[in-house]
């Protein structure tokens, strides 16, 4: 029995059962709006890469769902169901102390990802699941095996953008960065990159 729980931008997320476990099936469905050549060029590598990255992230000690199965004909990944709440939905309801704690942990986890050569590619508050004291990183679909400063900068830039767009507390990103810096030597260089990337957008405050 499969039940559709979310329709993300590129995949449908189903809640299902697999070997008596509650699982999530992420199915990258064919997008009729784009031509086959582009569609296939995107779906297959993204599915494959996502599974690989999640497994590597887990090895590096970051909280991510366990991968049970990868099917590259149907472009689907079967993985552990994480019983938590999207950070997007619970962040504003937390007191400041809790927010600070969570943000620092996120920063530490991003540092771990980067230290292990993993760039997530889409770190937003929708892709972080809070389960008790653990923060799970999900959706590595835009991720890459890369230690490029640019890619690491994009990770932090996206999270800063997501905070700015949808959350009130303006200190959130600074806390994330504090946690990041503590655990990653090259943090200052990345920080400069983040500002550079933000400055590439149109109509940003420069200087």
């Amino acid at each position: 029995m499969e039940r559709l729980i979310t329709r993300g931008a590129e995949a449908e997320i189903y809640l299902s059962e697999w070997m008596n476990r509650k699982v999530i099936i992420k199915r990258r469905v064919r997008k009729r709006y784009r031509i086959k050549e582009i569609d296939e060029e995107l779906r297959k590598p993204r599915t494959k890469k996502e599974a690989t990255l999640i497994i590597e992230a887990r090895r590096a000690g970051i909280s991510v769902p366990i991968i049970y199965d990868v099917d590259l004909t149907e472009m689907k990944i079967t993985m552990q169901y994480v019983d938590g709440e999207k950070l997007k939905d619970c962040l504003d309801g937390m007191d400041e102390k809790k927010q600070k704690d969570i943000c620092k942990k996120i920063g530490k986890s991003i540092a771990l990802l980067h230290k292990n050569g993993i760039a997530h590619g889409d770190i937003t508050t929708s892709n972080l699941i809070v389960d008790g004291n653990k923060i799970y990183f999900i959706d590595f679909g835009l991720g890459e095996k890369s230690s490029e400063v640019e890619k690491q900068g994009v990770d932090l830039h996206l999270l800063r953008g997501a905070f700015k767009a949808a959350h009130k507390n303006e200190k959130l990103f600074q806390w994330v960065f504090d946690g990041y810096k503590k655990n990653f030597e090259g943090a200052d260089e990345i920080r400069r990159k983040v500002d550079e990337i933000s400055g590439r957008g149109r109509y940003t405050v420069r200087g």
Binding site: E37, I38, G161, G201, Y203
Partner: protein, 327 residues
Amino acid sequence: MICLGIEGTAHTVGIGVVRDGPVNILSNVLNMYSPPSGGIHPRDAANHHSSVFVDVLEESLEKANIGFDDIDLIGFSVGPGLGPCLRTVATAARSLALYLKKPLLGVNHCIAHLEIGRAMTDADDPVLLYVSGGNTQVIAFLNGRYRVFGETLDIGIGNCLDKFGRKMEIKFPAGPKIEEMAENGKKYVPLPYSVKGMDVSFSGILTAATVLMKKERREDVCFSMQETCFSMLTEVVERAMAHTEKDEILLGGGVASNKRLQDMVKKMAEEREGRFYCPPQNLLVDNGAMIAWTALLMHKSGMKMNATDTSIRQNFRTDEVEVTWRD
């Protein structure tokens, strides 16, 4: 209440007359600058604006069948845009307001694209895909402001198409001609697909397409360019819809006139059981009516500006505007 709206952020002078209540566009006249060759030089565009301004104004009043005395409010595009163009229309707007002794409001151009779309379609709380020459943004309303969820990290989609057009010696604006050529494209030639979360980037595609132009059929390159760029835009706008949990998608900006882009976004909306909205062509492009309508919304929510508050803002960001007219 009748508002005169003046648009002039880039290549177009547009003057529209709009009555409030349910939106009632009495006139919407525009005159677009198209350079004899090359791209738009801001100074030449500004000269164009000042030379046609009076004609556009007279035609707009005539079509609306009103006189100066009937105007209750004046709105103008205060930014973002090209400095010389903004200064030209801002000066005209201020002079008119002072002469007629009517209130004046500076309107954010990007938000005007969104508001006219909401007024002219059934869209209530949409995600806007705003695609024009200079601008490429994914905008949605959240916590009292229009926030930019995604945008181009380098050039606007229209600018990308125009620049590519220029290499093929197509006159500005190149979009319509590229669309026509793309219809005769048969083969997809791979181009870099550049999506970073909800942001996009087009400069790499432009470079790659310029190289490919020399070895592939031009129609095929146009086709591939449209397919790649528009797939990217559709993907990020879908991601913004998923992220904000909104199910309406609205198009705005000149590039949204492209039928293939409309078709792709519409299909995407259908697939996720969302609703697709697109205002008529003359309100997709830069126009005065959208400025007039947004000024009316601002005015009715109690917003007031002194002439000194109406300095132009070349880098006016969408999320800087406090949206007092929405809950």
